[in-house]
């Protein structure tokens, strides 16, 4: 008897597990590649490093993963941060300028850069908390102005990077695996532990779920938001540094362009609702992987960059629809009554 009860419980929790849908999307992409070109999965070893599409998915997805991690927290509080793309540009520009033109070592340049971009994120939060400006507007300001700031920093130039330590961030390998991936993994673990082993996660979810009630429960929503926006800014800046390192140059015009949208997509696909509340850090990582896998698959299939967003959008919409309990119910109702009706 208890066994039967158990199986229904696990069945239910499987369907309700929000991670199931991005995983399903990923399975779809993998299946597509298995049919059209199994060589997609070939991984080779060159100079002791792993090469191949699978590795690329992770290494190129690393930046969006960083953005998505920060974005997850911001969205969980009921906000959104549109400035992450611009902050990426600032982060890359700052670090590159410090190292290349001012001659600082990476160990000095990187922390200073992170503090500055974290402060930018903090200002976003301050506008939301103290200015009571809607997050989408508050962060729009930095989204528009940030790229100009990045251009000012580099004097409107592309800054070439030669510093080996800097380049290692984007091109280095440890045990055959790209350094950027190790970095993302460490940051993810640190965040997951510091959020779920403290009460921060629950408090953030409470704020996102009903901010008004959170005040009555004694939660300092303002403080949490400031922290969250600052973390989001710092991670965006770090993503910019990785981007600069991987292409050996900081290009303030192009870096992080439209990346805020990728980050938001990754979060939503990963099962965190845009309305705030419940969030899933790991879901966002999966979302970022799915996005990158899709992009690479489409390039491999010869779809031009101009057309690629269309199939990408279809998959994203599909995953989001499947996440909606209501939509799933409607589908099951249609299939259930399809035979009976008429």
């Amino acid at each position: 008897m208890s066994k039967a009860a158990e199986s229904t419980v696990s069945k239910k929790s499987l369907r309700d597990n929000p991670l199931i849908w991005p995983l399903a999307g990923l399975a779809l992409v993998i299946a597509f590649n298995l049919v059209t070109g199994p060589e997609f999965f070939s991984v080779s070893v060159r100079d002791g490093h792993l090469y191949g599409n699978l590795v690329d998915i992770f290494s190129q997805g690393a930046r969006v993963m960083l953005l998505a991690l920060g974005m997850t927290l911001v969205i969980a509080t009921g906000g959104v941060d549109l400035s992450v793309g611009a902050v990426m540009a600032i982060g890359g520009a700052l670090a590159a300028t410090f190292v290349t033109q001012m001659g600082y070592g990476l160990y000095v340049a990187l922390p200073i850069t992170l503090i500055i971009v974290g402060t930018l994120g903090f200002f976003n939060g301050a506008m939301v908390v103290f200015g009571k400006i809607q997050p989408i507007i508050a962060t729009l300001i930095l989204m528009v102005a940030g790229r100009g700031v990045a251009l000012l920093i580099t004097d409107s130039d592309v800054v070439k990077i030669q510093d080996p330590a800097f380049l290692y961030l984007g091109k280095g390998y440890i045990l055959g695996i790209p350094f950027s991936l190790w970095l993302v993994a460490v940051i993810f673990l640190v965040m997951a532990v510091s959020i779920r082993k403290t009460a921060l996660g629950l408090l953030i979810e409470a704020v996102g779920d009903n901010e008004h009630a959170s005040r009555f429960s004694g939660i300092e929503a303002g403080r949490l938001k400031l922290i969250v926006y600052a973390v989001c800014g710092a991670l965006a800046g770090l993503a910019g540094v990785l981007d600069a390192a991987s292409v050996s140059a900081a290009d303030p015009m192009r870096v992080g362009e439209l990346k805020e949208l990728d980050a938001i997509f990754a979060v939503v696909i990963g099962g965190t609702a845009l309305t705030g509340g419940r969030f899933l850090l790991f879901g966002s990582i999966l979302g970022a992987i799915l996005l990158q896998a899709l992009t690479l698959t489409l390039y491999n299939a010869g779809v031009s960059a101009a057309v690629a967003p269309v199939p990408k959008a279809i998959v994203i919409v599909g995953v989001c629809l499947l996440q909606s309990e209501r939509f799933r119910k409607q589908i099951t109702n249609i299939t259930k009554f399809g035979g009976k009706a008429s």
Binding site: A199, A206, D209, G218, G277
Partner: protein
């Protein structure tokens, strides 16, 4: 198309009185998660009758209504309106076919104006889609005039007190000329004059041949207003009876399935208890607390284990007083001291850390976290009291949830169910559990039994009594004076944002409170 052949239907429904029912509900069943909210519920509403739907919390009244109005889709069962099967897919669709609803908790749009809320979704437009505001205004005005209420049509809804908002919701339902009007706890937040006014309108509408489904926990109102009543218990249909044939005792028997001696007043005993409490140490001292537009300088001493009531009409400053003490609104004058510690003004998180907590009257907006679990909703205040870096261990959370679900008899499929799946009364119990779990020194209860049925109300009153015995100091606000009479050791009477008098022990009676309010000039 908006009002299909309305006049013919009206005539037909009056003619069909007693033969075919106006609204016929048969065999409704509905499940939420593993909770069977309704099983096989049936009842009939005739044209021109007021039909009460009665039952305890979680008996399935609200769920039944929501199945009729298209909020929920029942798993089985049918609804017929004028002999025709209907299955509205949303409350809006139900409205358009003539079923207007006013819900227990105001379901309007707070940022829109009164006018917009009344006519929303039903405005006439010209060929270019421009809204005919003149027509809308006239219709809204006439709807409000049926209530004999003078509400500024251009006021933003959220600036009005809850009672007024409820009247706006009612005006909205009246505006469509509904054939069936469903009133879910419409009187819960109205004062006496407003209730009388509502009853007058209800009688008027009944005489016009409208069928009214009336849900309320006030039994006097049930007997006064209804023609027939249907009782539900645990999601099942129990009986439908003529109001004239039924005694209060029989009704309670139907509803509770158990006797109700515990509901008797205990005013006599209270005298001794009140004297005992008055001799104890001061727990909370409020001096000259006030803020413009909220309340003038309030002084209040609350002793250990004492329950002090704030009585007065809506708008007398009861809730405002509570909000200032808790600090969710900032006082401009005065001080709050807890034992010898000065409490920082206007910072609820500090108040909670010091041990002052407020269970707000607005459960939906200021209470629950709808998507969090029952367990999380219970531990959240304790957690914020301890601070984010000092998490309540999961075992402790589970133990707390288990303890309160059992102790307060919270009806839920388990501690991990979303709180929004629970009925209103059970949500209220979860909120009380939240405050108790956070170990308050002073607990302010603003309308703790609002929208709650008789059984649960008795439980909550008993709980207040035993907490007081354990030494917890409480401030209680209730629109129902009999409740304050039963629960409070001392009552402060407020009027026009001032404290105008005080009653103690057995001197606390409804008539004494009313006299104080009325006599004061």
């Amino acid at each position: 198309m908006l009002f299909p052949a309305e006049s013919t239907i009206r005539i037909k429904s009056i003619m069909s009185n007693d033969s075919t029912p106006l609204l016929k509900v048969r065999g409704l069943s509905k499940q939420f998660g593993s909770v069977q909210a309704l099983s096989d519920v049936s009842f009939e509403l005739r044209a021109g009758e007021i039909h009460s739907l009665l039952g305890e919390n979680g008996a399935g009244k609200s769920t039944t209504i929501k199945c009729i109005t298209g909020v929920h889709r029942p798993e089985t069962g049918t609804v017929e309106l004028n002999g025709q099967l209907i299955a509205p897919r949303s409350p809006r669709e139900a409205e358009l076919i003539g079923i207007g609803t006013v819900y227990q908790e105001v379901n309007l749009l707070p940022n829109l104006t009164v006018l917009e809320n009344i006519v929303l979704g039903r405005v006439k437009t010209n060929a270019f889609g421009k809204i005919d505001w003149k027509d809308a205004r006239n219709r809204a005005k006439s709807a409000l005039s049926k209530l004999e209420m003078d509400i500024d049509l251009d006021a933003t809804l959220s600036t009005l007190p809850v009672a007024m908002q409820q009247l706006v919701a009612l005006a909205r339902a009246l505006e469509v000329d509904s054939k069936v009007l469903i009133l879910d706890e419409p009187t819960a937040s109205l004062d006496e004059a407003e209730v009388e006014n509502l009853f007058r309108v209800m009688n008027l509408l009944r005489d016009k041949g409208i069928g009214i489904v009336f849900i309320t926990h006030f039994l006097d109102q049930v007997f006064r207003m209804s023609d027939r009543m249907t009782v539900l218990r645990n999601g099942r249909y129990i009986a439908t009876r003529d109001a004239k044939e039924l005694s209060k005792q029989d009704l309670l028997q139907d509803m509770l399935g158990k006797a109700f001696e515990e509901m008797q007043s205990r005013a006599g005993e209270l005298d001794a208890i009140a004297a005992d409490r008055a001799g104890r140490k001061v727990q909370l001292e409020v001096r000259g607390l006030g803020a413009p537009g909220m309340i003038d300088s309030v002084d209040l001493e609350l002793r250990e284990g004492e329950v002090v009531g704030l009585a007065g009409l809506l708008g007398s400053g009861r809730t405002e007083c509570a909000r200032l003490i808790f600090g969710v609104d900032k006082a401009t004058t005065g001080t709050v001291d807890l034992k010898d510690k000065r409490v920082k003004q206007g910072v609820p998180s500090e108040s909670i850390r010091d041990g002052i907590m407020l269970a707000s009257e607005d459960r939906k907006a200021e209470g629950i976290f709808p998507n969090l679990t029952v367990r999380e909703n219970i531990v959240i205040a304790l957690q914020s009291r301890r601070g984010p870096m000092n998490p309540v261990p999961r075992e402790e959370q589970d133990a707390l949830a288990k303890k309160y679900i059992a102790a307060m008899r919270i009806k839920t499929s388990g501690p991990e169910a979303k709180i929004s799946e629970l009925s209103g009364g059970n949500q209220q119990k979860v909120l009380l559990a939240r405050w108790l779990a956070a170990e308050p020194k002073v607990l302010i209860l603003d309308e703790p039994t609002r929208g709650i049925d008789i059984g649960a109300r008795a439980e909550i009153e008993k709980l207040i009594e035993s907490l007081s015995e354990d030494g917890l100091s409480m401030i209680m606000i209730s629109s129902e004076m009999d409740e304050e009479v039963r629960c409070c050791h001392r009552v402060l009477v407020l009027r026009d944002r001032k404290v105008i008098g005080e009653l103690q022990g057995s001197a606390i009676t409804e008539s004494a409170i009313v006299r104080k309010i009325a006599d004061h000039e």
